[in-house]
């Protein structure tokens, strides 16, 4: 695949003529192969699909990525191989669409406090635990819950609950919140900073907390 240098890719894709057509054709083939292999080998959620179906999906993703690449050629900074830069578009096209297909429907904001309480306190449901350790753990979990419920705003609490606790994708939660993934990242970043600051103010390190929860089963 090293048939062209970065400069050659940019030059040939950017100038109309037979060279451009050849470069577009070749790039589309690369994108197709990349996304086909990604879906076939890396996506355990697609193993039930036939090669023909995967090929058809790969064709669509390659076309979508090719359009996006042509529109964004000016953003290529030359700090990576051109093909690696281009593959990002096709992987994002596939991963984004596959995330959308797995959306779990309307997310519930009701009973946020109860959902947080259930998520946090269920962490201490361990049978046969040393009573002193159980108390220490419960106190820590109550502290975490208290910080979440008193120091974070509602949006931060929603984001933590859905992304960190429930494992929803950033894309799905951002869509439900009516915002971008960039903004959601900032919401989570601010929430993490507050949580970290308050835990450190209580002289608790990550190691302290994880040591308390070494026994799980």
């Amino acid at each position: 695949m090293g048939s062209r240098t970065n400069d050659e890719w940019l030059h040939q894709l950017g100038n109309q003529g037979p060279q451009q057509q050849a470069a577009l054709h070749e790039l589309r083939e690369y994108l197709f192969r990349a996304v086909f292999l990604y879906m076939r080998d890396q996506r355990s959620d697609l193993t039930h699909l036939s090669p023909d179906t995967l090929r058809s999906m790969a064709d669509d993703f390659a076309q979508e990525a090719l359009v996006a690449i042509r529109a964004n050629l000016h953003q290529f900074r030359g700090d990576a191989k051109f093909t690696t830069w281009a593959y990002r578009f096709v992987i994002n096209a596939a991963a984004g669409e596959l995330r959308r297909r797995h959306y779990r429907g309307q997310l519930s904001w009701e009973n946020l406090s109860e959902q947080e309480r259930d998520a946090i306190l269920s962490t201490n449901q361990v049978k046969g635990l040393d009573p002193d350790l159980a108390i220490e753990r419960r106190e820590l979990l109550q502290l975490l819950l208290h910080i979440i419920q008193t120091e974070l705003n509602e949006q931060q609490r929603q984001a933590i609950l859905l992304v960190h606790f429930a494992g929803y994708s950033m894309q799905e939660v951002a869509s439900q919140l009516g915002t971008s993934t960039n903004t959601l990242y900032k919401i989570l970043f601010d929430a993490r900073k507050k949580l970290k600051a308050h835990l450190l103010a209580h002289h608790l390190s990550g190691g302290d907390i994880l040591a308390l929860f070494e026994v799980w089963l």
Binding site: F36, D79, T84, S169, Y185, K193, G206
Partner: protein, 92 residues
């Protein structure tokens, strides 16, 4: 909450840096990050931090690393589009 989720959450809290790059910037830097990784070069710590915190960008990174490695090994070029016969040899 399961043990893995709890540990990951605590890990994310304490891995928080004073300044972090957003998804757009991480995505821009990702191709160079992957190329550097495959060539054994120095990694961009800002991208590292972001990938630790963002499941969606991590998914893109893992996919991109996979196909870039196939290309590096020459495996990606072996197919002609009728790709059933392609045997991927790259680790994930």
């Amino acid at each position: 909450m399961e043990a893995k989720t709890f540990r990951q959450w605590i890990g994310r809290i304490y891995a928080t840096e004073p300044v972090e790059i957003d998804c757009d910037e991480a995505q821009m830097r990702l191709p160079a990050y992957v190329d550097n990784e495959l060539q054994g070069g120095e990694l961009d710590t800002a991208v590292d931090t972001h990938l630790h915190q963002c499941p969606d960008c991590l998914e893109t990174y893992e996919g991109l690393r996979y196909v870039a490695r196939l290309e590096q090994q020459g495996t990606l070029a072996e197919t002609d589009g009728k790709t059933e016969e392609v045997t991927a040899v790259a680790g994930s």
